[in-house]
Symmetry: C2
Subunit: 199 residues, 2 copies
């Protein structure tokens, strides 16, 4: 299980493959095409998963399905995205940015810089109700869609406190990988979507 | 466009078919299998849609996709469903009941009688914030999923005030049917999903 640093992604993967160690790569960044290529040329299977939270990955897959199947379903609607994370997280959530792409296909005009980022612990605690013990580690997202005349509102929320959901997902990924190894699978890359479909 | 009464569904459809009048059936109830059969044997196309709200039908389709593709994704989670409608609506929302089926497949234990129905205008106005002018006509639904240890929460909400969303959907259905008639389509039944996919 690799949860290291973007700068180590490719060299670590080369090490695992060279030593025939099947691996779960939870680290983001690095050269992703090269990462896949390294596994494909190796004798091991690997799971490459920038997000280990199964339920969130599943929700993203639902949105991807909707955006591909019902383009412009929400044409004319107004979108608001708000995401709150611990103070140290400087960049916008990658999940929120991925969601913007799906919402665009659903007919909503929105750019990633319109995402409202909350990083202030006082606002998180007092206005949003993030529990004190999770101010240092949480990911709360709300996507709100409002019809042009204001009579219809949809809202999708996923609030994660702590890291339990990622630990659970990692265990499921390891179990999935173990089964692939047992079946002699080599040089193949799997995603969390594969893990989800198997459970 | 037929928005009448469950008891009139089948006789009305027979009348439309006999007189070769393409129709949009927004009325629920009646013998649905017989309704489909009547259209299939006729020389007209028809759209049969128990729910005309395109975005809600689309959201249901997303849930159906998830429940078929990722069974048990939310195993171990706790589900709460709350739906609020105008005082006169005696039965539980059909949409909420359909959603229970999808949630069950996603691994959530829940029966339709656990749906919390709100019909008290005082609660709707003061606790939920339903605007005064829509106390007599609204449909607010919230589905809340909480992980066993309480660290993860998902919520899906669709709040509809008045009937504008249904009027819009009906217009889209009529435009879709018009195109089918122009193309000489006969004896075929379409759904709102077909209308959604075409836009």
């Amino acid at each position: 299980m690799d949860y290291t640093h973007p700068s180590a992604v490719n060299s670590n993967a080369e090490f695992y493959c060279k030593h025939e160690l099947p691996f779960v790569m939870g680290t983001t960044g690095g050269d992703r095409a090269k990462l896949t290529e390294t596994v494909r040329k190796s004798k091991v299977p690997a799971i490459i998963a920038p997000n280990m939270a199964k339920q969130i990955v599943g929700f993203q897959a639902m949105m991807e399905y909707a955006s591909a199947t019902f383009p412009n379903l929400f044409a004319g609607y107004r979108l608001e995205i708000k995401e709150s994370h611990q103070k140290g997280k400087a960049d916008t959530s990658g999940t929120a940015k991925a969601m913007v792409g799906y919402f665009n296909k659903l007919g909503l005009e929105f750019t990633p810089d319109e995402i409202v980022m909350v990083r202030d612990p006082a606002i998180q605690k007092n206005e949003m109700g993030v529990p004190e013990e999770y101010l240092s580690g949480h990911g709360w997202h709300t996507y709100r869609l409002t019809s042009q005349d204001g009579t219809v509102q949809f809202a999708f929320t996923h609030n994660v406190n702590g890291r339990e959901i990622y630990a659970q997902g990692t265990l499921d990924a390891v179990a999935y990988l173990h089964e692939k190894v047992a079946n002699g699978v080599k040089g193949r890359v799997f995603s969390m979507i594969d893990v989800l479909k198997s459970t």
